[in-house]
């Protein structure tokens, strides 16, 4: 009886958009684009990825599942008829895997790894400003705050989402969302789950984390 009562109150409070509740920032609004992972949706403001802006994904080394995390997003971007630009990915992008994931390779463009950093950033800015590029993925380990701000501005004007993959987290980064993918520890899940931590998200007041099975397809 007591439990039922409190959940009723919770529901009432949640339904009221005018009410600000510090402990439940994640539930605010529904403007986001679903990540495809329910546990992650729950801890992101707007219940999903933002529509535009800059996002940082921190992994101790490349290939921790950061692309698996974004595959549902890529699929929805391609379905919208927009393009995905990969700027200097560290390895060869393998087309059969994209086809398996349901991503049309005709809407994928790769800027090669040996492009200079200046050119790569230039292309990223231009791509973010172009409405037709729905998603820009870039691998840049260290970028000054000034550059990040500029990219953020470009993403806002172009209504695009830019994702920066990096090894080290910088606390003072102006990007509205910073994620970290950690090691998979939970032995009882058969090492299948990875810990995804939302270090910072515009709207969240503290970092939240979730254990997600990133390799659903594999």
């Amino acid at each position: 009886m007591h439990d039922g009562g409190s959940s009723d109150i919770d529901e009432l409070l949640q339904d009221n958009p005018a009410l600000w509740r510090g402990c439940d920032m994640a539930g605010q609004g529904t403007t986001g684009r679903s990540t495809g992972f329910t546990q992650l949706d729950a801890i992101l403001p707007g219940r999903g990825w933002p529509e535009k802006g800059l996002m940082e994904v921190v992994t101790p080394h490349w290939g921790m599942g950061e692309l698996q995390l974004l595959i549902p997003l890529m699929r929805s971007v391609v379905e919208q008829g927009k393009w995905i630009l990969w700027i200097s990915p560290p390895y060869l992008l393998y087309a059969p895997a994209l086809v398996q994931a349901g991503i049309n390779t005709e809407q994928v463009l790769v800027v090669k790894l040996d492009t200079s950093c200046k050119d790569a950033l230039w292309s990223m800015e231009k791509a973010l400003q172009t409405e037709n590029c729905g998603l820009v993925l870039a691998w840049q380990n260290w970028l000054p705050t000034k550059v990040l701000r500029r990219l953020q501005l470009a993403a806002d004007t172009g209504d695009t989402l830019g994702v920066l993959f990096k090894h080290h987290d910088s606390e003072h980064s102006p990007s509205p969302i910073r994620l970290k993918i950690g090691d998979s520890y939970s032995e009882n899940a058969g090492f299948n789950e990875s810990e995804v931590t939302v270090i910072k998200a515009r709207g969240n007041f503290r970092s939240l984390s979730a254990n997600i099975n990133l390799y659903q397809q594999a």
Binding site: Y94, A95, L109
Partner: protein
């Protein structure tokens, strides 16, 4: 030049030469019966005295050596020769293995038909020799195109100035020059007709009935009795414009407004001719130095000043000039026909995004290409191949044909898991205390998937692929080589 009517060789009265002005054709009014009659007829009504004056002189040349070539080749050659003939006349007409140009209007300027002939002969012979063709050609000049062609074909190299002399000049020609088919030729021969003059002696009604209107019309045209349609040579468009700077400039930013001005000229030129361009070169000229050329290739032909300007600005941002600029030149290398975007009459409820913004995307890509260069932008395509490293292809952005080929093909990929990252060269994994190691220990999750291919090419591929997990959390795609050396390699990362 042999002249069948010597009296016509006399210098022409100035009246006749002025008659070129009569060529201005008035728009035909529907109630004028003579609307499609030759201009000579129209002129006769205004000034009867001019009726007898021929008002055109067609110089025709016949190239029998082209007969054996393919039609497309003939067309190509004739087109080039017509380009040379443009140097003496603005009115060049195409005919089978022959060209005709109007020279009356230029007689005074060039100082007679002989000068014109010498000038052309030099140009054409040189060109023919370049193509390894016989450098002889047959020529003739008369007031009608058909007449000139017939005279040229006969090999008479004749010159007829006046229309009334045409009949006697053409009458001497054998019927072979008409290039009739065998049946008609045989029938003419059986009738005892050997020369064109003989045909004119026959009753015209009967000839028309027996040989058809086309045959009679051809002869009428030759005599100037029927109008002659021409198939005019239109020179290919060319655009070169330059601007001499009043003082030397070193700063590229200050050149931009001038470039913008030149581009405006270019776009205006293109709009007027309904063309667009896909390749142009901007040259920055320096004193005592080679010019700096900026080549702009477009994937989709354009005539948008804004777009071209944007591309040039992108190029300029990376350009360093060796010396101050004294002049700017823009030259169009390739013209394309303009293809306009069609909009639907009714507003579509859900406009297809890919089409709506296609142009902005193409513009973005071109900008990218301009900055990064051609081989830095790649498309990825899956290829129907068993061998993992060949199953994905990286195509150059400019490789349009390859890209087109791959579009729309049904791609079948393996049902087995494939990684998103592939290592260019597989990394050898070492074994430590019975466990595989990459950066950390590796545990196999699933597999094996046997891939055995390319045994025919010598580079035999025989591998067992496994999906493995590194203890740090990343998924790896590893394989063990079959055969004598059973080594383990890392080939991909699922990422």
């Amino acid at each position: 030049m042999k002249d069948p009517d010597s009296e016509a060789q006399l210098p022409l009265p100035s009246l006749a030469r002025e008659s070129g002005a009569q060529v201005i054709k008035l728009p035909a009014s529907p109630n004028t019966v003579t609307a499609n009659r030759p201009t000579a007829n129209k002129a006769s009504r205004r000034t009867p005295a001019r009726r007898i004056r021929p008002n055109k002189l067609w110089y025709a040349l016949f190239l029998p050596q082209l007969t054996n070539l393919a039609p497309s080749q003939q067309k190509k050659y004739l087109n080039q020769l017509a380009g040379h003939m443009q140097s003496v006349s603005s009115n060049v007409s195409f005919h089978p293995q022959a060209l005709a140009c109007e020279v009356r209007s230029g007689l005074k300027y060039f100082g007679g038909i002989d000068t014109i002939h010498q000038k052309l002969k030099k140009l054409l012979e040189e060109q023919l020799r370049q193509w390894d063709l016989d450098d002889n050609f047959l020529y003739a000049a008369s007031p009608t195109i058909s007449g000139s062609l017939l005279l040229a074909r006969s090999g008479h190299n004749a010159l007829v100035y006046r229309k009334e002399n045409l009949r006697s000049a053409l009458g001497q020609l054998p019927t072979d020059v008409l290039h009739l088919d065998r049946e008609q030729g045989r029938r003419l021969h059986n009738m005892g007709v050997r020369y064109l003059g003989d045909i004119w002696r026959l009753p015209s009604d009967g000839v028309r009935k027996r040989f058809g209107s086309k045959f009679v019309d051809q002869l009428d045209k030759a005599l100037g009795k029927a109008p002659e349609p021409t198939c005019n040579y239109v020179p290919p468009p060319a655009f070169i414009t330059s601007y001499d700077l009043p003082y030397e400039l070193e700063n590229l930013d200050r050149v931009l407004p001038i470039v913008d001005e030149l581009l405006a000229q270019l776009c205006d030129f293109l709009r007027r001719r309904d063309l667009s361009t896909s390749h142009l070169i901007l040259s920055l000229l320096h004193e005592k130095r080679d010019s700096t050329a900026v080549s702009i290739g477009l994937r989709q032909a354009s005539r948008s000043q804004q777009h071209l300007m944007l591309l040039l600005e992108t190029h300029f941002s990376q350009l360093s000039i060796p010396a101050p600029i004294i002049a700017i030149k823009i030259e169009v290398i390739k013209f394309d026909s303009f293809i306009a975007e069609s909009n639907s009459l009714l507003k579509e409820a859900v406009p297809r995004l890919s089409r709506r913004n296609d142009s902005s995307l193409v513009q973005f890509m071109e900008q990218l290409q301009a900055r990064l260069g051609n081989n830095h932008i790649k498309f990825v395509r899956s290829v129907a191949q068993h061998c993992p490293e060949h199953a994905s292809a990286q195509l150059d952005y400019s490789d349009e044909s390859n890209r087109r080929n791959s579009i729309g093909k049904v791609k079948k990929v393996s049902n087995n898991p494939r990684p998103l990252w592939l290592l260019q060269d597989p990394v050898l994994l070492h074994i430590n205390k019975g466990r595989l190691f990459y950066r950390k220990p590796i545990a196999i999750l699933s597999g094996p998937e046997r891939i055995e291919t390319h045994w025919w090419s010598g580079a035999d591929v025989c591998r067992d692929y496994y999906v493995a997990r590194e203890s740090s959390g990343s998924r790896l795609w590893i394989y063990q080589e079959k055969g004598s050396v059973k080594k383990w390699y890392l080939h991909g990362i699922f990422a």
